[in-house]
Chain length 603, copies 2
């Protein structure tokens, strides 16, 4: 297959078999859909990706977006992409019918975006941020705001953005300084600057709707004084004409990757007449934003997985076509008269391909697991179930963001390595994916921030209830796997790892209880690596167990080799990846406080 | 310090204290030098690096070398660099006085190049390859070849290259096809194409001297039929005038990093009159080339270390200047009224800095250890010592090439991460170093090739004698460390790791003895990771032990904090890095043969 950047067979196997997405379709919210309808929808996304997205990924890198005369110009293919994306309803995939959406499950939303991002990771942000901005207005905005803004965003006539960061604040949103001054009208006057605004502008949408965090004059300091505003690039006047609103693009950040996807610097209120409309109540901006942010974190992990998927298939193609070297005979020699073998036949190349496959498909499964909890939270009728799935979703979100980001770097690096010297050259794609994916661990809260969230909040919340629920979920998978003799050793290994998590937490938690939070959280990133590896190990056992069940019942619609490959890759993950957790646990349980006990002069 | 890309204090501590380079100076070959002379020399290299190299590293990335009208144009600063480098005798640093060199120890040669490469990794290859080519002519060429070529190369009037790879061969040099047809004169006619020729051309040298691997017509197949030729870009005619020699630059490979350093495609003999002069005997080309290659492998590891050093100091500077976030109080809360703290005060940022420091300084020490063996091999008078140091040098060479390459990626990735979103932007250097360093694991034999060399040759040679010698060297360090109570636990950990190496080899070796070489070598890259981590752990214990000794004897010329920081970083390495070896050992000892037992359809 020429445009091979994703395995749709694997995606559907994970979606339907491993994560039982069909079960969701019986719930009221999704009852208009059946598997056939979903398949047709995903096929249309694949066709769109094959024809409008994948063929332009390299050209977007070579012809980056750029800033000129106060606006951003993106690659000309975006004209077509924005038009088609608008027609296909991509912005509103998960929105309620009432809001003009398709009301698809989160799992299907992520599957569709995964395909598009594997084809071209420079594009989906223009859709996703518009969706996120529209979703915030729908969730918390007034009817008037909804009526004015959302319909134009749904068909991408207008784009949407999230404006959080400022140069002096970075990840510390307590420190944002953009102000909102009340007026006698229904708007505030916005003054300030925002940086790193993804998808902030382009020539193919008439207008941009910025969702801006700002402080209303006199608001409390810190995050408790942050409010959320709709600030359009151009505001509709009384006749509905769009007029200048002093939300000026003043520059673009030039980046080493995702060059087709613009990152802008916006100045609000240079003329003191930049108007913003409050969303929801004052001083609740950050909590509103976090609804979007949690979604965006899963989406970021998904994007990392998708880039790693594209790199995997690019390197697999090369490994299948490139002859080099020969197999060793029983004297450890090569027979030079033999034809060269394809490099895919070398064990070390297979190891690099398995490493990628294990990371990519394990991460895909984690994304679907997380979105499955999201769908179940939304559609559950009992409060108990809602809480359960919310806790599981909240616990997995930072992991689903971070594991694909960090391990995705390693995965794409393996893709580069398989191509040898060509891997470093612009003639082939892996080097681009290697550059593109490097942003994933920085977007939407860095790995450090995600790790503090995981250990500092998600593990401790409700006396560790989320982790207890996760352990139950994992135990179910272990029970299923124990039905199959060939999977038992791996089920045992996973069980040991669950015990190891409890042991590590029992060592760390006393620091928090004694009020020594700095010590408690010092190695949060190591904990993320540790727990992330175990959670993906769980996903692999679930995957292998599902494959084994299909093989034994002989009910698969794929070849036996397909299901056997999943079991084989699970074994690879356990033998080459999960085996690392004991070392990480030892690091976590060390008593040396090496990163706390020293002053900065040590460096 | 503005140009902070390397710590000269650490470099000198490793050179003089940890690796006792002054002892070498008492040997005949180096007896003209004392520490003062070496210090003056290194200071001059630092000044050259500060003024002529470091200020241009970013601009060379932004204005890459390019191919135009049959030749390569490099950044204009190279005019100055080539002139100064020639004047300073950089090409001949290690050469004999008789050959016009400075006869410096290998350790000092590497120290000088390390400083230059940390300042600007796009430059040193133009020096180093000229040196390597000249060295091959000096070692194996006729007096006539030496007289014609070497003096012009020593002052960089002419450049030099190594032409090995061809597109159909890649790492498999058995498969090169360039031919050499004997004539009645003293030259052969060369026909063929070579790719990935680093430093192949530029506008600031009059001529280029290519050292080309080719097959003499009728030679045996495989590596036994490969000969080495001097093929100048322009050949001197009878009057010494340089005339066209049909060695045409036909293109350049565009790369994601090291953009100032050209990578060319050369066609030899398009007019059937490309003349090459045989170096040494026919069919021995590869063994000659390997002398250079071993040097080049250490140099590549050194370059990786240097890039990681530059990235470390760039991120350290940022961490010391950037305020963001606040420390947690005993309720796990932040006091928003406090000033923001510098990010270097966050434990997770310290962890990322320590990770870099541990990798960078550990790799530096490994490079100096390796070059120390090289110096001792050359200057030893007994055959037994010569063999001992040769075996140790050969064993460490693939590790000294690979550890800095692979861990250097991780190290620079940490530098990017410390800068948050800015890490991904062209405004700051870490993203460039992250791109630049990605070539290191591909140059001069990929990580896979190095790992096969390590496990398949260096471990098995002479019934494992090299490894036995290494174990003795490590034991000496352990004995020294055991003199200090605070180092004992780490000495014990290292000793356990030496035992673990023996255990792993006892499991792997039977596969080789049974003739199952594919199985024996399947996880060679994992073995490289395993043994590399232990060897760098040894370097760290040696470093800490030296620091402790200086502290106890109170004989240091640096602050106590300097020596304490080395001990602290050793503890970090043992707690966060060396702890991984047990997991790697388990992977190596697994029985599943996961990368051998499956066909390529599994992917």
């Amino acid at each position: 297959m020429e445009n091979n950047y994703v395995s749709i067979d694997t995606l559907k196997f994970l979606l339907y078999n491993v994560h039982q997405t069909e079960d969701l379709l019986s719930r009221d919210r999704f009852s208009d859909y059946d598997k056939t309808a979903i398949d047709i929808f995903l096929d249309s996304i694949k066709t769109f990706s094959d024809t409008a997205l994948f063929p332009y990924i390299k050209d977007m890198d070579e012809k980056p977006s750029y800033f000129e005369n106060g606006s951003i110009k993106v690659h000309p293919q975006f004209e077509n992409i924005i038009k088609l994306g608008g027609e296909m309803g991509i912005v509103g995939l998960g929105f309620d019918y009432n809001d003009g959406g398709l009301q698809l499950p989160s799992a299907i939303f992520h599957a569709a975006y995964f395909i598009m991002e594997a084809a071209n990771n420079h594009v989906s942000g223009y859709f996703g941020l518009t969706a996120g901005a529209a979703n915030l207005i729908l969730s918390f905005g007034s009817q008037k705001l909804k009526d004015i803004y959302v319909p134009n965003m749904l068909d991408l006539t207008w784009g949407g953005t999230m404006c959080l960061t400022e140069s002096q604040a970075g990840s510390s949103l307590s420190d944002i300084k953009t102000t909102a001054t009340p007026t006698n009208e229904d708007y505030h006057l916005i003054n300030g600057q925002k940086i790193f605004i993804s998808a902030g502008d382009h020539q193919f949408s008439n207008n941009f709707v910025h969702l801006v965090l700002a402080r209303i004059k006199g608001a409390p300091s810190g995050i408790k004084g942050v409010s959320l505003f709709v600030v359009p690039k151009k505001r509709p006047d009384k006749n509905g004409e769009l007029i200048y609103n002093s939300a000026d693009i003043v520059g673009e950040f030039e980046k080493m990757g995702q060059k087709g996807y613009c990152t802008t610097h916006i100045v609000f209120g240079d003329n003191n007449d930049c108007r913003g409309w409050l969303v929801g109540e004052p001083n609740k901006g950050l909590s509103y934003m976090f609804q979007m942010m949690n979604e965006a974190r899963i989406a970021t992990g998904r994007m990392g997985t998708a880039i790693a998927s594209a790199a995997y298939y690019a390197s697999l193609k090369y490994a299948n076509e490139r002859p080099q070297g020969r197999k060793l005979n029983s004297s450890g020699q090569k027979n030079i008269e033999e034809e060269q073998t394809l490099i895919i036949n070398h064990p070390d190349v297979k190891r690099m391909l398995f490493t990628q496959k294990a990371i990519v498909e394990g991460s895909m499964s984690l994304i679907f697991q997380t979105s499955n909890y999201s769908d179940k939270e939304i559609t559950s009728t009992s409060q108990e179930d809602k809480e359960k799935y919310n806790l599981l979703l909240e616990l997995l979100t930072p992991i689903a963001k971070t594991y694909p980001a960090e391990k995705g770097i390693e995965s794409t690096s393996n893709a580069v390595q398989i191509l040898g010297g060509y891997g470093f050259c612009f003639d082939f794609m892996p080097q681009q994916y290697y550059r593109d994916i490097r942003i994933i661990s920085l977007y939407e809260g860095t790995t450090g921030i995600q790790s503090l969230d995981l250990l500092g909040r998600k593990i401790t919340v409700k006396n560790g209830k989320a982790l207890k629920l996760l352990a139950e979920e994992i135990q179910q998978t272990i029970n299923s796997a124990n039905n199959y003799t060939n999977l038992k050793p791996y089920a045992t290994m996973l069980l040991e790892n669950v015990g190891l998590v409890q042991k590590v937490i029992s060592i760390l938690m006393p620091h928090a209880l004694k009020g020594n939070y700095e010590r408690f959280l010092a190695d949060a990133t190591v904990f993320m690596d540790f727990l992330g590896t175990i959670v993906v190990g769980w996903q692999w056992l679930k995957t292998a167990s599902t494959a084994q069940e299909i093989l034994e019942k002989n009910v698969g619609n794929q070849s036996n080799a397909f299901y056997e490959s999943k079991i084989h890759t699970m074994k690879f993950f356990y033998t080459y990846e999960l085996i690392k957790t004991k070392g990480l646990a030892k690091t976590l349980m060390n008593n040396e406080e090496l990163t706390i006990s020293v002053s900065k002069e040590v460096f």
